[in-house]
Symmetry: C2
Subunit: 427 residues, 2 copies
């Protein structure tokens, strides 16, 4: 039977989950996968944590050089998080011909172009299923499931924290700040929630998924980004009246060879399969030119779900006779502008507060018309009060630039008190 | 570059879709997958059809022996459907060391145990992604995505015809017979719809998925089966009042090493991710012990979606240095009773018609209680009329046997006119 030695770099949440799975399932993997996976080292300073997981003392070390020099280690799984020392350790492992498995989406999305050529040069594998959507096999789906397709679009709810917060705001009307506190108390949000709520985490994931899907480098720096910290429950409620649900979506599309890529709150129809994805669940919806619409759904985080993806990669790597690499050069440091759409198109939900006077609606409609922004829906609420009445427009598909120009002009019109919110609407 | 020769057996709907993808995407696959896939033969009698797809005359043949003797053919993709001659041709291909790719779920579920050992003996691959849920990579997910898990349950909407019919009944209140006619007119149902509406098609798929998931032979003959031809719109409507949606579910569960497996109409909560799967879409929901809940969603049929799965298998097979086989012997002809649960447990929705008299409800409740069937919900509708009033019970989880005994006893009670329907309720 094939014997595979694994070293775990770090024993945090996912590292711990991975250790548990590998320990408890060793016999199962021998029987079912025909491979004997042994944890040879755990690189971790926190000895108490290692003891708590029942890691034998003699395999705990801080000496990465010893680990990568050991010929019995075939695969190194990295759980440190952050950039350093994770990056240096991964490069050392690859240079020694060890395959690397990682859940580190920030590092991977920013340094894939550094890791890939080193892996290729040394015949080592580079696996990253766990970087996107926890245990849901979205990477394997792209590389081994829908290879027959040119991917036309990806839309994902790829961050559990923001989906938990938006679900609470939607289902219970909880205001943002309170929903965030609740998520923090339950462990769904970090003490500093910036990476999640401002959409950075989602940009890492959509960059990785898009690079695989479109077979060209889609750097994380190209991802347009807006977070959810400015979302108002009022808009969620108005959206529901219009048959829409608000989600933080990571979106990329390939149209005529041009890629558009963005992360922002967006309304989608309540009938869209993504609309039913609530709480800390994640999902990715793809459109392929042959397969049509498909969606994968599951938990995007957690020790065992993400550990499941790591171990899946370890087993997949163990079963490869030779590893495969990206079919294009991702090391170019220049971002090719011609690969990206200069603007993107969407529908827009615009909520404004206006004076309840004759002529206002007409002036607003004319301003939209001037920029060829045509209107699908107008919702006027009969709120009374001296502070004006809410007026909501949903537009047809238009370019972001036209929408912005039109809204800028509407803002200055007589009778328009305030533009409260502008939210993109996706099909 | 690796060159792979493919022979297509049959140019029906899926065969045609596959031919189109292979022809149009040859350059794409060279660039992205690093493999040059050439269609060497199309085995098809219908020359007009071959011409319509632009198949060059010189590669059209009816001589399977020539095809399997040609060393330039590496992979044979089968689209005949039915058992013969598909089975004989597939065996010939495997015996000649050609890998086989198939969408033929009936054949595959019934003869996997015949094909697998011949494939193994001859070092040929056997790929069947297209047998289950069209282009949705559920097979690859089981074999390469969630291998770290012991699968605890599978619940699937795996038949587009029945889901289309039930969706029409649910959304528009169309009676069964009319919804079936509509599905036939739109090409979602065959002229003889038996295989779909009576659940046979779903039994093939759940047998294949369960065999892979539980790593033991789960023969199609062990699948308990009920179709949808007896479903009444009235029950769908009452179910909705109770927050449930009716679907034809293919279900298997592994509990303590015992498998239960069944296909029947079932209510699920409107909040379950499967509830939102409507029209001709399919989805499979899995629970793994590490990954938790995951679901894959997409089109379960059609030339290009299923062609996408076939081509995915061709590319996957082309990239294997050696093929993998089932980690257990599936050739035993004796079905091991001890591997299967003697009974299954479920919740039950029971609709009956009763006389609107004192004491009836009490007698019914007592009869349920006698068999330890406890009641979650009672819904009494205030319909008036001499034919009695509808009374609906939903039970807690109980064994099928207890439920049947209780219902048999209720049937004979004073005041009970009729048991109208019994529908299982799944979590």
């Amino acid at each position: 039977m094939k014997k595979i030695g694994v070293a775990l770099l770090g024993l945090g949440t996912v590292g711990g989950g991975t250790y548990t799975i590998l320990k408890e399932k060793r016999e199962f993997f021998r029987a079912v996968e025909g491979v004997d996976i042994e944890v040879k080292y755990v690189v971790e300073k926190n000895l108490a944590r290692c003891a708590a997981f029942g890691v034998p003392e003699e395999i705990v070390t801080c000496d990465i050089d010893k680990v990568v020099a050991d010929p019995s280690v075939n695969i190194v799984a990295e759980f440190f998080g952050g950039i350093e020392p994770a990056k240096s350790f991964m490069l050392k492992a690859l240079k020694n011909g060890k395959s690397v498995v990682t859940a580190n989406k920030e590092l991977f999305s920013k340094y894939w172009h550094v890791l890939e050529p080193v892996a290729k040069e040394n015949g080592a594998g580079l696996y990253f299923e766990a970087t996107c959507v926890g245990g849901v096999p979205i990477i394997r789906t792209l590389t081994e499931g829908v290879q027959a397709n040119e991917i036309l679009s990806i839309k994902g709810i790829v961050n559990g924290t923001t989906n938990y917060i938006l679900s609470a705001m939607t289902e219970k009307g909880t205001p943002y700040a309170e929903a965030l506190k609740e998520a923090q108390a339950l462990g769904f949000a970090e003490a500093d929630p910036t990476a999640d709520v401002e959409g950075f985490d989602a940009t890492y994931k959509i960059s990785i998924l898009s690079t695989l899907a479109y077979h060209k480098k889609v750097p994380v720096e190209r991802v347009y980004r807006e977070g959810i910290s400015g979302v108002d429950v009022a808009d969620i409620n108005y959206g529901r009246e219009l048959g829409m649900t608000l989600k933080l979506l990571a979106i990329s599309k390939s149209r005529g060879g041009k890629i558009e890529i963005r992360v922002h709150p967006a309304f989608i129809s309540c009938k869209h399969p993504l609309a039913a994805v609530s709480g800390s669940f994640n999902a990715v919806h793809l459109i392929g030119d042959s397969v049509g619409d498909i969606m994968l759904y599951g938990r995007g985080a957690g020790a065992l779900p993400t550990g499941s993806a790591i171990v899946s990669d370890i087993l997949f790597a163990a079963n490869q006779k030779s590893h495969r690499y990206l079919p294009f050069d991702n090391t170019t440091t220049v971002t090719a502008d011609e690969d990206f759409a200069p603007d993107f198109t969407s529908k827009y939900y615009v909520r404004m507060t206006v004076k309840d006077e004759c002529g206002t609606l007409g002036r607003i409609a004319a301003a939209f018309g001037k920029y060829n922004v045509s209107i699908v829906t107008v919702l006027q609420k009969d709120a009374t009060g001296k502070d004006g009445v809410p007026l909501i427009f949903v537009t047809h598909e238009t370019s972001e630039q036209s929408a912005r120009c039109a809204i800028e002009e509407v803002k200055s019109l007589k009778g328009v008190i305030k533009i409260n919110s502008v939210i993109r609407v996706e099909d």
